[in-house]
Symmetry: C2
Subunit: 461 residues, 2 copies
């Protein structure tokens, strides 16, 4: 029997989870697995990069869950520093390009997994390609920024972060932790546009409280460069902010050029279109991770949300299906969390704007409670917001801001949304209580109760 | 219009939540509300008593959510130090007994809420009624034990805790924190019999690691007393353990004598039988809190689980129904959590034994993971156990032991069990991930995946 051949494009979570899962289910006699990675690292935690830059994680290898050598020892023919430049669906081949030698090779496949990830958005502004302006997505990006930060530690120059989303704020904290004066420039009225403005304002207060300068409603117009082509200032209208390092935190776009050029369908979210099995429009071609589109369970719309959690789950689905299994990816509900110094921020489902865009009639309820029993030491405030479908009372989304222990409470909301629970049902949930962990009415239940009372026709406030 | 009259027996969570909810929904012109409390305190946190005894909470008033005076100001005729000694269902009256004056009064009611709570089990052993042997259930009990501990601080005498359940261990920690040598005597093979033995063993290791002596498989035979009638030793077979203070942590029994004597049905769990509206077998008589039975959603059996979370929810249901509303109590699933020094322990649903008793064919999966990304500072181990229905794969129960941030993860399992999710579905959940909070595969998802793989017909380990 000749082994079939599985080719994987991309060596991070989506691709290597697919490869590893397939390796568990098929012997080398049954399946050859070859994976191509453009950079030097495989299976790393992109989410850990801010902690590496900030110095909480000392060694870049700590962020690598499985190295190329470990993948090879596991029976995967892993080739780093190898770009894939074309897919030929007719010939069932990919063309690879050795980054160092420039050599091109044609490699056959029976099944193909596209896991090309995403790239930080780089707006077409004057000077945006100057030295010293960093987008941080790959571990290679992270290493370059850290090297820069360490090398320039003596000058302690100011840093500008463009974009106040999760990645921007995490990198802002990391650079603040390194002792750099940090300014975050956000085009919107509040940071964290994935939250509603009222919750984003709480994050903004927290950021400013740390000593980070936060400019909201502020659009960057361009970048001034010095004679060496290095950024020296950020231009905002008539003003400039002097800086020698800029970090772009404007989000990412799925890397779909390779798939698009091969004639594979790209979806409305700009990710590679997939079905529930994570199959693309081309037979025996699959997609996983940041480049792939999937279904949002609440809006029922295709979305491309770049998170390692989805990449891992999608990779697992692909690895099973590519080896004769039959499992589906259940979709996403937009759960995300971050920690900015002592502040924990989390969201799930749809925020108010997203819920209205998706056609829902929306009500909201926001409560402030405490993380522990009021009398227990070290109790801190926690704010919980519910976004609810008016009438039926189904929970559509939730947002939580607090300190220690706040963020992971979002998982109750995520599980409730997954199961299409109403707020009337949620307030009945038998959640854990002990004074060190919660109030006797858990903050989540308090928010559910408030939302349920608002929706009740006999509501007396 | 003459106001109807609501009488509430019992001034803690179940009764006073019912009273307060009713007060919100009905004006004094519509409804008189009278509540009788045997002791001095109302609406207090029994769960906070160990922290008061241990000294983490300085003032007993901090444990009181709403005092008698506050209830009165809220329009509830609250009478402390007033026992209710009889219910006459024909005459629609209760007989009250003033604890101080001994005066008896007959009070009419239209609706009656029985919220008489529970009493610590006191086994019929020789000497069990000696001075210095404490059952701790009411805030009054807690004040007496604390006074004793403070008064005898100079002697620093050894303490024996009989029973290694939640309350026993929390009190053991509190007394250990006070510098007392503590011995916990547990009849079972492991402490925390609400957990499976393998998880209980982890708790036992933790307890011993704190310097608390833990004797398992050890039954207490009686108590020796001195000439003043005070306990001086615990007898175990041929041995004695010298002590001057004993704490009983053997669980509680519902206080149903009053209801039983009135002819109200008591259920198989020994709690007052209720329907989903928390109505008893007698018209216009309701029950809430530790004295009341409710339905376990997984076993579908009646249970009486003494927890403030249930008392509050049941009280709310009664308060709404007694004022013309129509809501039901959704039942319980046995969620509970505690913290013993740095160890967090939580459970929900059915444990292995309970699941087998309820007639399920049971499989289990236990995993060890970490509380944060492996590379993130202060990462600690976390153990998650799933109890699963074989075949269908429905999650029946779960147990979690770890350190900071471990216990409240049980809420995801509780929400999943509430919705009758299978482990195949659970492993797809979109839970929050960030390196300070979780691994990219959340420990709950890892356990679900392991359980799902075990159940799969094509499972390759």
């Amino acid at each position: 029997m000749t082994a079939r051949r599985l080719v994987v494009i991309g060596g991070d979570a989506g691709g290597m989870t697919a490869a590893s899962q397939a390796r568990r289910r098929a012997t080398p006699d049954e399946l050859d697995i070859v994976a191509f990675e453009r950079g030097d690292y495989t299976s790393y935690s992109a989410c850990g990069i801010p902690y590496f830059i900030g110095g909480l994680v000392a060694d870049v290898d700590d962020l690598v869950a499985r190295s190329p050598a470990e993948h090879r020892a596991n029976g995967i023919d892993l080739r780093t520093r190898t770009d894939v430049t074309a897919i030929d669906l007719q010939a069932r081949t990919v063309t690879t390009h050795d980054v160092d030698s420039g050599r091109a090779v044609t490699e056959p496949f029976d099944d193909l997994v596209i896991a090309t990830g995403a790239t930080p958005l780089r707006p077409p502004l004057p000077g945006v390609d100057a030295h010293g302006i960093y987008g941080v997505q790959t571990l290679g990006d992270g290493v370059r920024l850290r090297d820069e930060v360490v090398a320039s530690a003596a000058t302690n120059g100011p840093v500008v972060v463009v974009g106040g989303g999760y990645v921007g704020l995490e990198l802002a904290e990391a650079l603040h932790r390194r002792g750099r004066p940090v300014t975050v420039v956000e085009a919107g009225a509040q940071p964290m546009s994935t939250l509603d403005a009222d919750m984003g304002a709480l994050v903004g207060d927290a950021i400013r409280g740390l000593g980070i300068t936060l400019l909201t409603d502020t659009a960057v117009d361009g970048f001034e460069t010095d004679t060496n082509g290095r950024v020296r200032a950020v231009t905002i209208g008539d003003h400039t902010i002097a800086t020698d390092t800029v970090v772009l935190g404007l989000g990412v776009k799925p890397n779909v050029e390779l798939a698009h050029a091969a004639g594979i369908d790209i979806g409305p979210s700009a990710g590679i279109a997939t079905d529930a099995h994570m199959a693309t429009s081309a037979a025996h071609v699959w997609a996983a991770g940041d480049c792939a589109e999937s279904r949002h369970r609440v809006s029922n719309r295709p979305v491309a949300i770049a998170l390692g959690t989805h990449a891992n789950k999608q990779g697992r689905v692909v690895g099973i299906n590519v080896t004769g299994g039959d499992v589906t990816f259940g979709g996403v509900i937009g759960t995300a969390a971050t920690k900015i110094c002592e502040y924990e921020v989390a969201r799930t489902g749809l925020n108010e704007r997203e819920a209205r865009d998706a056609g829902f009639d929306v009500d909201t309820a926001t409560i402030e409670a405490t993380s522990r029993a009021g009398y227990y030491p070290d109790t801190t405030p926690i704010t919980v917001k519910f976004v609810v479908e008016r009438g039926r009372g189904r929970l559509l989304g939730g947002q939580i801001i607090g300190r220690e222990g706040a963020a992971k409470r979002i998982d109750v909301l995520a599980t409730a949304i997954w199961n299409e629970m109403t707020v009337e049902e949620i307030q009945q949930l038998d959640l854990a209580y002990a004074p060190p962990f919660s109030t006797v009415w858990d903050p989540v239940l308090v928010a559910a109760r408030k939302a349920a009372e608002q929706l009740s026709p006999t509501h007396r406030p």
